[in-house]
């Protein structure tokens, strides 16, 4: 008999964890269909009558979307679509660059034994453990100092002056994403037998072909996990983005924060739901790719 009998407590604890994790998300999604503009309590699903929907029991609003009224409102909101575009641009560009650099760093740390190796390894943890706000302020200070000097030295005027914007957000995202990518790829490399690369070279492949045909395909799942982690971190980053963005580079988290200070409309819930769905399908896709690889 199994000495580790399953106690009812285990089941209870497991349920509790799931409730804690998923109840807020469930509520959030539910409220995106709320027939109340103030969104304080759930007053029921939006019902459609002809080209109109009813709000707060009596208020009649023109809308063709029925239960998805708030999603339609969202898509009409120029600020939201702009912020979404910014967020995705930043996430995609920063993910590509940080994945390349982070993977190269992981390979170098695994392959070569150099004097500064222990220091390099340690320096990877620092951006992860220091408070994000410290890093945010640090990066902001760096940019304003640097841009001040450059603008003065080159006598840049008007539109050509260096300012905070999409570029600075991307650079700072890359900076904090690299350590995550490197650590994830390193974990994958830990079990990587050098004999695979030696076998490729033994069969006539030079260093670059060996990397292309053997090393990279073998570490690809690790690289993808690292990239995905970096991508999600970039998507929902608030603190560092807050310090480094400028006019016209507002991202979704910054925009939502701004909205919340005024009024919590179900639009925010609709936006969050779309966001969750996007992340969920990305993870699902990655799982599918990895499973297919294994076969």
């Amino acid at each position: 008999m199994n000495p580790f009998r399953r106690s009812p407590f285990v089941l209870f604890a497991a349920m509790l964890v799931y409730v804690f994790l998923y109840l807020p998300i469930f509520v959030l999604v539910l409220y995106s269909f709320n027939a109340s503009r103030t969104n304080v309590v759930f007053t029921g699903f939006i019902s459609q009558t002809g080209s109109q929907v009813v709000m707060d029991g009596s208020n009649v609003v023109q809308s063709p979307c029925g239960a998805f009224h708030w999603y339609c409102e969202l898509s009409k909101n120029k600020d939201v679509t702009n912020a979404a575009k910014n967020t995705l641009t930043i996430a995609v560009v920063a993910t590509i660059i940080s994945t390349i650099v982070g993977t190269m760093a992981a390979l170098a740390l695994q392959r070569y034994n150099f004097k500064l190796r222990p220091f390099s390894q340690l320096s990877l943890y620092i951006p992860i453990v220091i408070p994000e706000i410290v890093m945010g302020i640090g990066i902001l200070t760096l940019f304003s100092q640097l841009f001040g000097w450059i603008n003065n030295a080159l006598n840049l005027e008007g539109a050509s002056r260096l300012t905070l914007g999409l570029g600075t957000v991307i650079v700072s995202h890359i900076a904090f994403m690299i350590p995550f990518v490197t650590l994830v790829v390193q974990a994958r490399l830990q079990g990587f037998d050098k004999a695979y690369e030696e076998a490729a070279m033994d069969l006539g492949a030079n260093e670059w072909t060996t990397f292309q045909r053997v090393t990279f395909p073998m570490i690809l799942p690790g690289v993808l996990s690292g990239a995905l982690l970096a991508f999600t971190l970039s998507l929902d980053d608030f603190v560092i983005t807050f310090f480094t963005n400028g006019p016209g580079s507002t991202t979704l988290p910054i925009y939502v924060y701004g909205l919340l200070r005024r009024i919590i409309t179900p639009q925010v819930n609709a936006l969050s739901t779309v966001w969750i769905a996007l992340v969920f399908f990305t993870v699902l896709l990655l799982q599918w790719i990895q499973n297919r690889e294994q076969k």
Partner: protein, 370 residues
């Protein structure tokens, strides 16, 4: 062929930096010449330098001093992909993301062979290792023995001058290992390629090799045929490492030709034997005799090298009886072949039985200590 030797190591030293920061010579002034078409084994326990030597031939490591010559050409710092040798790895190192076909085809693709040629040569190579029809499988869908064959096919498809094998049978079970030993040997003879085989398994080395280099602590202890290293070990290390032996310590009294007379206090008398290495009068030596070469008799036979002893333990193991003796306080082991089929217990040695032990001088070896 440009050279008489397929591979030559000339005074090769390979030093590594240990984690503590000191230098350690994994290979210490090794010189060896491996002939074309030879099945050559490097035999030794872990850390003896055999794998490092093999890796230097493959090009995964470069010598600190000396050089490796392949077909008479110095290799220097030539990378592995510019040497016409191929390796079968201990872990097989099959590319998991490729099929069996793609694994075997990899080396030919690197040569720029045409699609038709690749298909033809891969097919022939898989046929040679009896894996026809497996080409679309993934390595992890194969058994250990099959993976081993893929590794072999992948290396041989390149038709190298020299095939390097790093303990390729280590991960297989005993029965499969024995089968593969015979198969490898047959394959080598059929192809006429030079095989350089690294192993710690002495039986494997004795079974397959034309010549064996017995290594210890980065040095070659002896190089010779299976018969030579077993019957005429160059020193005590080799005698101890290969097969089993009884050892007695003594001092050389006189040497005449290849025979030496040794004063052995533990035996109580002088012993006469064959001096295999260079020994001279006054040297401390080990007298060695194989357990199957000790003669046991009920009565004293010849006078020379003969003593009375008592059986302490006798173990019947089927083909042989292992008899352990007490000879004047010295423990001796003797393997007696059971040549007659009988149930009569008197045919086998009993504990406490008195016997005469004779060490024939032609079976007794006088070995320098090394």
């Amino acid at each position: 062929m440009a050279s008489e030797f397929a591979v030559e190591l000339r005074d090769v030293v390979k030093k590594f930096i240990t984690p503590e920061g000191s230098e350690m010579a994994a290979v210490d002034h090794v010189t060896m010449q491996i002939r074309n078409g030879e099945f050559f084994s490097m035999l030794g326990s872990s850390g003896c330098g055999k794998t490092t030597s093999l890796r230097m031939i493959a090009g995964f490591e470069w010598p600190t001093e000396g050089d490796v010559y392949i077909e008479g050409k110095p290799m220097g710092h030539l990378p592995p992909f510019q040497r016409n040798v191929n390796t079968v790895f201990q872990s097989y190192a099959l590319f998991q993301h490729m099929t069996v076909f793609q694994n075997v085809a990899f080396g030919l693709e690197m040569e720029g062979a045409s699609k038709d040629e690749i298909a033809r040569r891969v097919g022939r190579s898989l046929e040679m290792v009896q894996l026809t029809g497996m080409d679309r499988r993934r390595p992890r869908q194969l058994s250990g023995g099959q993976q081993q064959r893929v590794a072999l096919a992948r290396a041989l498809v390149k038709t190298p001058d020299v095939l390097l094998l790093d303990e390729p049978l280590g991960a297989l079970d005993l029965k499969l290992r024995k089968e593969m030993q015979l198969e490898l040997k047959a394959l080598q003879q059929q192809l006429g390629i030079t095989f350089i085989y690294v192993t710690h398994d002495q039986e494997e080395a004795l079974t397959m090799s034309d010549r064996i280099a017995v290594m210890s602590k980065g040095k070659i202890m002896q190089m010779g045929t299976s018969v030579e290293v077993y019957e005429r070990p160059a020193n005590r290390f080799v005698a101890e490492f290969i097969g089993e032996s009884n050892f007695l310590e003594g001092k050389v009294k006189s040497v005449k030709g290849d025979q030496a007379v040794v004063d052995v206090p533990a035996w109580g008398e002088e012993l006469i034997g064959i001096a295999t290495g260079k020994v001279k009068a006054g040297d401390d030596v080990s007298v060695s005799i194989r357990p199957e070469k000790v003669r046991l008799t009920d009565k004293q036979g010849i006078k020379e090298n003969s003593l009375e002893a008592v059986v302490t333990t006798s173990t019947y193991i089927g083909s042989d009886t292992h008899v352990y003796l007490d000879v004047r306080g010295q423990r001796f082991k003797v393997w007696e072949q059971n040549r007659i089929s009988t149930l009569d217990p008197r045919a086998y040695y009993a504990n406490g039985q008195k016997v005469w032990v004779t060490l024939l001088s032609e079976n007794t070896l006088i070995l320098p200590k090394a």
